[in-house]
Subunit: 402 residues, 2 copies
């Protein structure tokens, strides 16, 4: 098995057509509605936000996926409105939108998934969605760019990725697009990602592979520790490549392919985080379990003192150690090691302050690797990605909604 990351996106795998159009949901007239339509109903799997406040499209997509047994004939995505905290009317609009697309495609409603991103607490206009569906049906094509643009809110640019996987049974592709946390307009704390592949796979196996891929990619990033009401990751498999995946056949190839595309999209989201100037990789080693390693890494990645220090280029290992110490998992300061890039700053209970200038030089870069061994003597290891915290983040999120 070999994997190659390639330029491409959601239509790199065979068997999918997509569209992105302006439906008038955004006042600006920018593209705001996307469709993903497999040539035949695809195997589908999805992961949704764990926030107790769940947007209407999350509720509807979850129901549909269960009812359809994981068959997906179409995915409808809108930007410019989250359809969250909109009560029963919001739910009715989400259901009706799915119904309209189902009519257009000639499939049962439960084979439609819906996703939204935008301002919380504002109603989604069914008229606009209906008109948009009509326009998008006529624009379906093997070009993923318009769709990747239509799901953007304040992202700096579209986020697309693809990978080519060769197995003994033949080659297949994985492609995807995502929407990050731009949030110049407040309340767009929403992460959406759509991943396609042309393997033939049953929905439960696809779900298991997606779970594995997301654990080390989308679930290992943080911009500001805020879990939104709309987070959704959808995977669709068309079967068009002729390669079949089961629990016992080509499963690792599918996981690796999905992971490659999800990681690239996840890192694009972090790089495009609000006000971000640096991509920071936090690796924790020596923990007594992977879960504890991840908990320490997340605590460090969400520490405003660590994020401002990285922003300012300050090799401030005391903040890393203090964050690890408050994370609630075993931490042995006497056996801990702190490394910033190639520079060891703390080891054997001793600071290496003479190395600080070299670490400060390293921190001038835009891709920062930080490694902490927590000294618990275990083999638990995890990596989490985050961005720095800049004054621009405050400016973006402190501006009054207009």
């Amino acid at each position: 098995m070999t994997i190659q990351e390639r330029a491409g996106g959601i239509t790199t795998p065979a068997g999918f057509r997509v569209a992105g159009v302006s439906a008038g949901i955004k006042a600006s007239g920018a593209p705001d509605l996307a469709l993903i339509v497999p040539d035949r109903p695809a195997s589908g799997a999805a992961l949704f936000t764990t926030n107790q406040v769940q947007a209407a499209p999350v509720t509807v997509s979850r129901e549909h996926l269960t009812k359809s047994g994981g068959r997906v004939a179409g995915v409808l995505v809108n930007s410019g409105c989250a359809n969250a905290c909109t009560g029963t009317s919001g739910l009715a609009v989400a259901r009706a939108s799915a119904g309209r697309l189902a009519s257009a495609l000639g499939c049962p409603s439960e084979q439609i998934l819906v996703a939204s991103t935008g301002v919380i607490g504002v109603g989604l206009q069914l008229d606009a969605v209906e008109a948009g569906i009509g326009r998008a049906m006529g624009a379906l094509a093997r070009d993923g760019h318009p769709a990747a643009r239509a799901i953007m809110t304040t992202d700096l640019g579209p986020k697309e990725a693809a990978a080519h996987v060769e197995t003994a049974d033949g080659a297949f592709s994985v492609g995807g697009m995502a929407k990050g946390a731009g949030m110049i307009e407040p309340m767009l704390a929403t992460m959406l990602a759509f991943v396609t592949t042309d393997v033939s796979v049953e929905s439960p196996v696809l779900a298991r592979a997606l779970n594995e891929a997301v654990a080390s990619t989308f679930n290992a990033i943080t911009v500001d520790g805020e879990c939104s009401t709309n987070d959704t990751v959808v995977a669709l498999a068309s079967g068009s490549s002729g390669v079949t995946v089961t629990e016992s056949r080509n499963y690792p190839a599918l996981v690796h392919g999905l992971t490659a595309v999800c990681r690239t999209l996840a890192l694009m989201i972090v790089r495009g985080g609000e006000g971000a100037t640096k991509l920071v990789s936090i690796t924790v080693t020596g923990a007594d379990s992977v879960a504890n390693a991840r908990r320490v890494a997340k605590t460090i990645a969400n520490s405003p003192l660590v994020k401002t220090a990285v922003h300012g280029g300050d090799p401030n290992w005391g903040r890393l150690v203090a964050a690890a110490g408050r994370s609630g998992v075993p931490f042995a300061i006497d056996r801990a090691v702190v490394r910033v890039g190639p520079v060891v700053l703390f080891k054997d209970g001793q600071p290496y302050d003479e190395a600080a200038p070299r670490a400060a030089d390293y921190l001038r870069g835009t891709d920062i690797d930080i490694e902490i061994n927590v000294g618990a003597g275990g083999s638990g290891e995890a990596t989490v990605w985050t961005c720095d915290l800049s004054a621009e983040y405050v400016r973006i999120n402190g501006e009054y909604r207009t």
Copy 2:
């Protein structure tokens, strides 16, 4: 029983002399060493950081308090150096410092408590501490101001408070001083507070009362969610007022007196938080327990999206609801209520967007009250205080350590 908050500080209660001097620990020559000396060994109690990385003075004070059975003859505090992550040599300096003060006071070493605040990972110079103790012993007086100044790092000003309590058995006082999170010089994530009273009380009863007072005051504030390596709250009781407190006599009066002083000091710390321009009170009601109410309130209080919205005067209730929804405790959006000052923004599953301009007006103030009923139908209630998140916070903490 009546309680009156009064101008005053750590020497308002009878039976204590204090001093604050320059010992040369700070390169600037600013005051950096304080002593608190009861006329006779006092009953003492203390609470320390829960960070697994604990500074040397925390380790030593904890040991001494246990050994002495809660008798305290003197407290030695320095600013300008945290003596944290300094290994065995740091521990030796903390012990030796306590020993020097014990010699000067003619008491056993274990009757001395020590506390430090400043940069992590830098050694504390015993020479400077010794010289400072000598100077401070000669300066002991019934004036709390010099000590309140000597424990400052980058605090905007000294933090002092006092309360006068009348009981059927007579009157007593509670006084205190605290040091907040200035952090213009990185790594000073340290909260220290010292509270005195002139009741006569056994150490275990004082400890229980201090615990109660701290739970709703110092443990209910957050500036940036960072628990430091040096956090320490010490209470001392001299007995000089003639009022005796036991579990069954005047105990509520002591708790209320300690709470009044601790709350005032705690709010001073939040107001003086890095880059803070507003004091924000987050009250959560309707939770199924007090612990869950506090958890929701802490999640909201540490949400960068909520803190930037308050900074920018944006009545962004969606961020409050999203933060509550990810806090991990029961939250019923259909029965939830969000109030900003006197203005209801969300109720019965419906936004009240027409009220947003009035809420925006309210948010122009500097004292902001936010209330969320989580709709779980319980009587659990908690208040947490925080400050807004400004670009100044990023500037302060992003500047390279010089």
